[in-house]
Structure formats: structure tokens, C-alpha cells
């Protein structure tokens, strides 16, 4: 215990030094708007690099496209690309560090700058001295105003312009659009919420893909991206049965929509949920979402003459990017010495039969037959397979909350906060105002208010300002 004392005192001292450093050095730096602007532009700039340089390609690709000699722009060889992580910009440590720095800057700015500004904006004073109006660009004095009615008139005019009006004796204060002061704070806070939500998602979520033929059951296994704490999200106690996959085509032959009729089965194989999904309409079950993403041809169901039906898998053929094609080889005699190749392009129901010499011998529609190599080949069904994108993202509710607040916040931020002061001295009315954003429309508004307060000031009237004390509040000037 005794040994602990000096060290704890030391660490206490170290803590205060750290705290002071944080308060005096780090916080002002983080809250510096110029840092924020540099960060915004830096994130923008590095994001550009990720859209110009191909992302996530193979080593051979970068070696072919970014040769060392001559290097692009004299320096951008494949070695530079890979060393800096320019092949996966948005996942590099330096890009994530930039985002974290940005988040810290946001937080610092919210607490050390925005909240005090809002506090100041909510505090306001009546103007009780004519000279207080002088600093405002939009201020005027109007003579010949009835001593008892001028402020009441003004207050009525401002009321129709949706101002919130406060009056005390000869002084009047009116404001509108305080939402415009709160908006930016909501924007910053909601961006932090989105950041937090996305971190939760990347830590606890997973992505998977499954290619499943019609009529089969699968468990989610082919996971290609999972966060470190995603284990509990991956479903173990239920599986999915693909009742049917099909494609609707337009009369012109273009794809109209993909459909998968899916059943969720519990461990006993009982159906607990069922839904036909299509693109833009996923199935959700226990926090896991299954999206229609891709399709393929799994196999062919056929028979010869009066034989039982056979299922033969079809494989996707290399076409060099010229469309998708699936093929299978069907033996036509028992010793496999002869057979035909069957090709299919889509699920429209037609297969093309080629003989051993490679020439087209028949095209057969589903449910029909043709004679090949002396036997009657009947095509019963082209079995489609559905490509499902599967994911769980526990961060989504947080992200959506952030999105919602962000939308509200940016709309609020458009509102311009306007303040008007007035002071009556005898038959002279002083009026002044300011607005933070919409200077042009506010100027017009002030001038229109002044017009209702005719007559125009007389040039011979002089105003002796008192310059000794300036107690003028300047709410938002921090």
C-alpha cells in the first residue's frame, strides 16, 4: 500500500497534466473550424482516389495497369498503390483514422462551440439606449410616432410576420427562427449517431451469399464478411427452404423481375415464416435479412422415352463477358460413348441441343421433346437457382435514428434566425434588427416594417449618443 502512494500521486499529477493538455491544447485544436474544413476536404480528396483507382482487384490487375516503368504521373506504380492501400482506400488505417479524427472534431465542436452559442442565442436583452442601435447595420430612427401606440403597432406588424414578441415598457424584442440555431447542433449530433451506428454494424454484423437451387434447403454458411462480435448474429437454429425461383419476362424478352418463394424452417423442419421476395422486397427473420441479388441455372430435369426423370446439374460456361450461358452433357446410350451437349441461356424455357460434332440439332421447350441420337429426349424443367444476399446489421436502428435526426437537423439549419429590437423615446422610435443567414430577405423585411412606421426621419433631428458604456448584448458572437 505504501508503495502505491507515490505512484498514485504521480499518476494523479499526470492526470491533471493530461487534463490540462486536453483542455488547453487538444480541445481548442479539435474544435478549430479550420481543422474541420481541412478534414472535410481531405476526406473528399481521399475519397476521390478510391473512385479513380479500381478497388479490390487482384495483384495481377494492378501490376498490369500500374506498371513500375513508366509509372503513372511518375510515381503511381503498383507498389505505391498497394503500399498505401489505394486498392482498398475506404478500409485503410489512415482513412479510418481520418474518419475518427473527424468524429472527434465533430464532438469537440459540438460541446465547446455549438452548445455555448445556442445558450448565448437564447439569452437576449432589451435595448434601452438609442446608441445600442448604432452598431446594427439594419437600424433606423423614425420620428412622429404616437407615444402610446407605436410599439403596439409594431408588435402587430411583427406578429403577422410570425415573430415571437417580448415587450417591457418602451422596449420591444422580437425573434423568429430559433430553430435555425438548434439545427446545426442536431446535424452534428446525428452525424455522431450515424458514426456510432456504423461502428456497431461493422463490429457485430455479417454478410453472406448463397446460391440455392429451387427446391433445396440451406443454412447460412457462406459468410464473406463478419465483424469480430458477429458470432451470435449468425443463425444456427433455423434454415431456409427455396420453394421456387422464377423470373418474369416482359413481352419484349427483357427481365421484368426475379422472384424467390422462401420458407423459414425451424429445427424440426416446420415452416415458421414464408414470403416471396424480389429485388426491392427482402425477407426479414430474427434480425437477418435475405435479399434477392442474383440468379443462375442449377440443373436440368429430363427423361428419355418413358424413363424416370433425371436431374442433371448444369455449370456456367466461360463466355468471356458475352452474356451468361449454362451447359451440361447428356449421355444418350448406357455406355456413355455418345451424348449431346445441352445449353441454356435463361429461364425462359428453351434449351439448345448440340451433337458431338458441335452443330445444333434441336431446340426443346420445357415440357416438350425431340429425337436426338435415336432417343426421345423430353425436357421437364430447367431448374433455376436463386442468388441470395444475406446480412444482419444490429447497427441499423441507430443509423436510421441518426439519418432521421440528420434530415430534421439540416432542414432546421436552413431557417434564418432573425431578431428585432425597438425602443420608444418620446415620439421617436428606434428600430434595429439582424439575421444570421437570410440577409437579403431580412433587409427587405426590415425596410417593409419601416415603411409601415412612416413618416421617414427628419434630417434636422440630432441624436446625442452616450458612448461611455456599452452593455449591448451580442448573443451569438463567440
Amino acid at each position: 500500500m505504501a508503495m502505491n502512494e507515490p505512484s498514485s500521486a504521480n499518476s494523479k499529477g499526470g492526470f491533471t497534466i493530461l487534463k490540462r493538455y486536453f483542455r488547453r491544447e487538444l480541445l481548442p485544436l479539435l474544435a478549430d473550424l479550420r481543422l474541420a474544413i481541412v478534414l472535410l476536404l481531405a476526406i473528399a480528396l481521399f475519397s476521390v482516389s478510391g473512385t479513380v483507382i479500381e478497388q479490390g482487384e487482384t495483384l495481377a490487375f494492378y501490376q498490369a495497369n500500374y506498371p513500375e516503368d513508366p509509372a503513372l504521373f511518375g510515381f503511381l506504380s503498383w507498389k505505391v498503390v498497394l503500399t498505401l492501400g489505394l486498392d482498398h482506400v475506404y478500409r485503410t488505417w489512415w482513412f479510418l483514422a481520418l474518419l475518427i479524427l473527424f468524429g472527434s472534431s465533430l464532438t469537440a465542436c459540438t460541446f465547446s462551440r455549438q452548445l455555448p452559442t445556442l445558450k448565448a442565442a437564447r439569452k437576449w436583452n432589451y435595448y434601452t439606449q438609442p446608441r445600442q442601435f448604432e452598431k446594427l447595420a439594419l437600424s433606423a430612427e423614425v420620428d412622429g410616432q404616437p407615444a402610446n401606440a407605436a410599439l403596439a403597432n409594431l408588435s402587430q406588424v411583427l406578429q403577422t410576420k410570425r415573430y415571437l414578441i417580448f415587450q417591457d415598457g418602451n422596449s420591444l424584442y422580437a425573434r423568429r427562427g430559433i430553430a435555425g440555431r438548434i439545427g446545426p447542433i442536431v446535424v452534428h449530433a446525428s452525424m455522431l449517431i450515424v458514426l456510432v451506428g456504423s461502428i456497431i454494424g461493422s463490429m457485430t454484423g455479417f454478410f453472406a451469399q448463397e446460391i440455392v437451387p429451387s427446391g433445396q434447403t440451406f443454412q447460412i454458411q457462406n459468410i464473406f464478411d463478419a465483424g469480430p462480435w458477429a458470432k451470435s448474429q449468425i443463425p444456427k437454429d433455423w434454415s431456409v427452404h427455396v420453394n421456387r425461383f422464377w423470373i418474369d419476362y416482359t413481352p419484349e424478352g427483357a427481365i421484368d423481375q426475379f422472384y424467390s418463394d422462401l420458407s423459414v424452417l425451424d429445427q424440426q423442419g416446420n415452416e415458421v415464416d414464408r414470403k416471396t421476395i424480389h429485388v426491392n422486397e427482402p425477407l426479414r427473420y430474427h434480425g437477418v435479412t435475405l435479399y434477392q441479388a442474383d440468379w443462375g441455372i442449377a440443373g436440368l430435369r429430363f427423361h428419355f422415352n418413358n424413363s424416370p426423370k433425371f436431374d442433371l446439374p448444369m455449370v456456367q460456361l466461360e463466355t468471356g463477358g458475352k452474356g451468361r450461358l449454362w451447359g451440361a452433357w447428356i449421355p444418350t446410350n448406357p455406355d456413355l460413348s455418345d451424348g449431346v451437349s445441352v445449353l441454356a441461356r435463361d429461364l425462359k424455357g428453351t434449351v439448345f441441343v448440340y451433337d458431338g460434332g458441335g452443330s445444333l440439332t434441336a431446340t426443346i421447350r420445357e415440357g416438350q421433346s425431340a429425337e436426338v441420337n435415336g432417343v426421345q429426349l423430353s425436357i421437364d424443367e430447367i431448374i433455376g437457382s436463386t442468388g441470395l444476399q444475406i446480412k444482419a446489421d444490429p447497427g441499423i436502428p441507430v443509423v436510421y435514428l441518426g439519418f432521421g435526426l440528420l434530415m430534421i437537423g439540416v432542414v432546421m439549419s436552413y431557417v434564418s434566425h432573425a431578431q428585432i429590437w425597438a425602443l420608444q423615446e418620446g415620439d421617436r422610435l428606434y428600430l434595429g434588427g439582424r439575421s444570421n443567414r437570410a440577409q437579403v430577405t431580412f433587409e427587405r423585411e426590415i425596410l417593409s416594417v419601416l415603411e409601415t412606421l412612416q413618416p421617414i426621419p427628419h434630417p434636422e433631428n440630432e441624436e446625442q449618443g452616450d458612448k461611455t458604456s456599452d452593455r449591448t448584448p451580442s448573443p451569438s458572437m463567440q
Partner: protein, 353 residues
């Protein structure tokens, strides 16, 4: 007349009207004394606006879905948006300069859509499965409206830069409210009865812009802080004239209208990006996948966020925010069309775009 030939007629007519409108605005800037020219220009803009709206409406009727599925339709929609935002800018600023900048861009877009796009791209095509969603209308229309706002705002920033070239400028209008205070030299002069600013409502454009700008130029830049602080002048001067409002100059007005219109485009862009993210999450399972198009939308957002913050930053005052906004014009175009040159994706418009 059937819908298709009506559409052909309408897009040619819109292009022709916009061309004449552009020339009218330009001549109007060259001869500021001719009062009729801005009226003719505004009428031309209105005709083009209605013509483009009718064209899009005809396509909606013909195709049965909101016409935003290919490049041709989105170009026409953005041209319509620019003519609409033009009116907002023109009525707010009451300056004939606005049309001189917006009309050529609207004309250029319409010309490109009408004359340069191959005719098979001008036909409406059935939607691909991925786009069959109500989110399409939500996401795309809001995005395109935001592009229109940001483009007009950026154009006004360019106008401001041209107008104030070679001068240092103090900005007015920002979220913290810089520029609501009287200029020191303005007060001094007023006290000496040298300047008598008009107290009655005068057309904005006639208030001498150079005087206020030149005065502001002498404002010394004090210690570098974070946020701009305008110190109210403390000089004790006995006042000879009554207090009258200090009016905004033309440069102030252009700058503030540019700021307001960008301020309108920014929430739209935010909502558009979020709508796209939510749609992507509902349809494909990821709200953000760094697809080039969405990355560029984020870049656009970041650039204009930097602009909004630059306005409230001491040491970045003056023309610098306007330069960011003006470069935002390019960024919006890259985001809208340039990205599609990089490769195909969900946001491809077909053809080489």
C-alpha cells in the same frame, strides 16, 4: 398530335426559347438601361420552365412512371430544376445578373439532351428490376433538385467572384450571423454627411456595390481566432444624421443569395443521399458500399459542408468560401455525369454514360 411528337416539339421549343432567353439576359447585362430586357428574359425562363414541365408530364403519361429513369429524362429534369431555382434566385436578389449565369447552363443542358443524345436514348424504356421501387422517385428527384440548387448557388458564387475580382471582401450571412453589424467606415462617413444612403426602397442593383466593398477591404484582419468576430467600432463620433439602414451592396446580395440557395440545396442533397442509403439498405442490404456514384455524392456533400463552415471561419473570410462554392459547380457535374464515365454500376444511365 400524339405524345411522342408533342415531346419532340416541346424539347426543341424549350431549347430555342432558352437560347433566346440567354441572349436576352446577356444583352440586358451589356445595356443596363434597357428595362425591358430582364422582363423578356424572365418570361423566356418561365416559358421554358412550363415547357420542360409539360414535356416531363407527357413522358410520365406515356411511360406510366415518374420520368427519371435515363439520362435524357434526368437532364431535362435538372434543366427544369435550374429554371425553377433561377426564379427563386432572381426574385430574392432582384438582380438581372442571375439570368446571365443560369440561362446558358439551362440552355446547354437542354441542347445536350435534345441534340447530342442518340435518339434511342431519348425513348422511355421499361425499368430494370432494381429500379422498380417507390424509392426511385424519392431518391432521384430530390438528388436532381439538390444538384439544380447547388449549381445555381455555385453559379451565383462565380458571378460574385467576377464582380469582386481583385478585391478583399467581408462576407455577410452565415449560421453564426457575421455581417449584421455596421461597417466602421460607413458610420464615420455617415457622421461626416458624405454619404447619404437611400432610406426608401430602391432597386438592389442600383446601390453602388463598389463603395461598400472597397470600404470593407480596409478592415484589418485581427488575430487568428476560430470564428469571425466583428468588433463594433468604439469610435466616439457625434452624429449629424439620423440613423438609417445600411443597405447591402450588389456583391453582398449576390453572395447572400448564393449562400441561401446552396443552403437550400444542401438539405436536399442530405435527404437525397439518405433516401438512397435507406433504399440501398432495403433493396440490397447495405446502406453504404462506396460505389463511385455514392462516393461522389458524399464528396459533393463534403465540399459544400466545407463551404458552409468556411463562411463562419475567421481567416477564411472573403472570397475563399466563394471559391469553394464555385469549384463545387465542377464537383456537382462530376458527381452527376463524370462518375458514369468511370464504369457501370447501379447508377449507370446506359450508353457510354
Amino acid at each position: 398530335m400524339d405524345l411522342v411528337s408533342l415531346q419532340n416539339w416541346l424539347d426543341n421549343a424549350s431549347f430555342a426559347v432558352l437560347f433566346v432567353t440567354m441572349l436576352t439576359y446577356w444583352v440586358g447585362v451589356a445595356f443596363p438601361k434597357v428595362q425591358v430586357l430582364p422582363t423578356v428574359g424572365a418570361t423566356g425562363m418561365a416559358i421554358a420552365n412550363v415547357g420542360l414541365a409539360a414535356l416531363l408530364g407527357a413522358r410520365w403519361l406515356e411511360a406510366g412512371y415518374f420520368p427519371l429513369s435515363n439520362l435524357y429524362e434526368s437532364l431535362l429534369f435538372i434543366a427544369w430544376g435550374i429554371t425553377a431555382v433561377h426564379f427563386l434566385a432572381e426574385t430574392t436578389s432582384q438582380s438581372r445578373l442571375v439570368g446571365a449565369f443560369t440561362a446558358p447552363v439551362a440552355m446547354g443542358i437542354t441542347a445536350f439532351a435534345t441534340l447530342s443524345l442518340p435518339s434511342q436514348m431519348q425513348h422511355s424504356e421499361p425499368l430494370v428490376p432494381a429500379l422498380k421501387s417507390n424509392w426511385l422517385m424519392m431518391h432521384v428527384s430530390v438528388m436532381l433538385l439538390s444538384y439544380a440548387c447547388l449549381m445555381v448557388g455555385a453559379l451565383l458564387a462565380i458571378a460574385f467572384l467576377i464582380l469582386t475580382r481583385g478585391q478583399a471582401v467581408e462576407l455577410r450571412g452565415s449560421s453564426i450571423g457575421t455581417g449584421a453589424y455596421r461597417d466602421a467606415r460607413y458610420r464615420l462617413r455617415r457622421a461626416g454627411q458624405e454619404v447619404a444612403p437611400p432610406a426608401t426602397v430602391a432597386p438592389q442593383a442600383t446601390v453602388a456595390p463598389q463603395a461598400a466593398v472597397a470600404l470593407a477591404a480596409e478592415e484589418p484582419v485581427t488575430a487568428s481566432g476560430n470564428t469571425a468576430v466583428l468588433n463594433p467600432p468604439q469610435a466616439a463620433t457625434s452624429q449629424a444624421a439620423p440613423l438609417t439602414p445600411q443597405r447591402l451592396s450588389l456583391a453582398d446580395t449576390l453572395d447572400n443569395v448564393s449562400y441561401r440557395i446552396i443552403g437550400l440545396g444542401f438539405p436536399l442533397l442530405t435527404i437525397g443521399i439518405i433516401a438512397g442509403a435507406v433504399w440501398a439498405n432495403e433493396a440490397w442490404g447495405s446502406y453504404w458500399s462506396w460505389d463511385p456514384k455514392e462516393t461522389w455524392a458524399l464528396i459533393t456533400w463534403l465540399v459544400f459542408a466545407a463551404y458552409l463552415h468556411a463562411r463562419i471561419t475567421r481567416g477564411w473570410q472573403g472570397r475563399r468560401p466563394a471559391i469553394i462554392a464555385a469549384s463545387g459547380f465542377l464537383v456537382v457535374w462530376v458527381c452527376y455525369l463524370g462518375v458514369n464515365l468511370l464504369g457501370k454500376g447501379l447508377h449507370s444511365y446506359g450508353w457510354f454514360f
